[in-house]
């Protein structure tokens, strides 16, 4: 049954082959993927916007106080567990895994924006 159907389909299917030499670039896409260039990467404005959104949506934070320069513990009155929670929320938002050493250093919006903007895998 399946083979008959497959045969019938193959008889009627025609796939146009348009392989022009100029587009054929087997290594180009790989090279672009491996490069650290910022061409198709997140822009700084987008990173700032999304980081601030994550921080504002945190339940204990007063959204009106959040600016790009705000310090989690000094300015927003959060404790250390809260700042770890924000870092985990940022990890989830940008599909990252931030190693412990870097995660400990991120204690303000500025540092978070800087780290995520420079991270090649942030998306």
């Amino acid at each position: 049954m399946a083979s008959a159907l497959r045969g019938a389909l193959l008889c009627h299917l025609r796939v146009p082959v348009a392989l022009s030499r100029s587009n054929w670039d087997p290594l180009g896409s790989v090279a672009r993927f491996m490069s650290s260039g910022h061409d198709d990467h997140l822009t700084k404005e987008e990173v700032i916007h999304r980081v601030l959104d994550v921080v504002k949506s945190f339940p204990k934070v007063d959204p009106s106080k959040v600016t790009p320069d705000v310090h989690f513990q000094k300015d927003l009155g959060l404790d250390s567990l809260d700042s770890v929670e924000i870092v985990m929320a940022l990890e989830e938002e940008f599909k990252l895994e931030i190693p412990d050493k870097e995660a400990d250093k991120i204690d303000s919006c500025n540092l978070a924006i800087e780290y995520i903007h420079n991270h090649p895998l942030a998306s």
């Binding site: 250390s80 770890v84 929670e85 985990m88 989830e92 895994e97």
Partner: protein, 132 residues
């Protein structure tokens, strides 16, 4: 077991409060990183968000914020890891997760009328939650 959370194991006792504190953060991160798979296993996408679960884990940790004995923190951490292991291994059922971590904080009965104002501590707890 088909799925076991790697990297969580019983370690020697913490020597100082600082070490115990660092371990608590490690545990919290491990718990947060397993939240997406937990939401998948227990099909929680329509009842709770990842950030709510994260806050709920943080509030469980914050319940013991006043503990300053490293040995006690180690014990609590061990219990937390056991719980996390059980959850990620699907040893629980959906209503356990929902009861303990989704509605647990606010109580199972959301009725705030005056009829619950008895003297009995037991009844108050009973109305509030199954999980103390």
């Amino acid at each position: 077991m088909a799925f076991r959370l790697t990297g969580l194991k019983v370690s020697p006792n913490s020597a100082t409060l600082e070490e115990a504190r660092a371990r608590v953060f490690d545990f919290f991160k491990a718990a947060c990183r397993s939240i997406p798979s937990i939401m998948e296993i227990y099909n929680l996408h329509d009842v709770v968000t990842e950030s709510q679960l994260r806050s709920s884990v943080a509030s469980e940790i914050r319940k013991h914020a006043q503990v300053s004995n490293p040995k006690v923190i180690d014990l609590l951490l061990f219990k937390g890891m056991e719980e996390l292991g059980n959850i990620t291994e699907h040893a629980k059922q959906r209503h356990h997760i929902i009861g303990q971590y989704v509605v647990g904080g606010q109580g199972l009965v959301q009725d705030l009328s005056a009829k619950d104002q008895g003297n009995s501590d037991f009844l108050k707890k009973f109305y509030n939650s199954n999980y103390f």
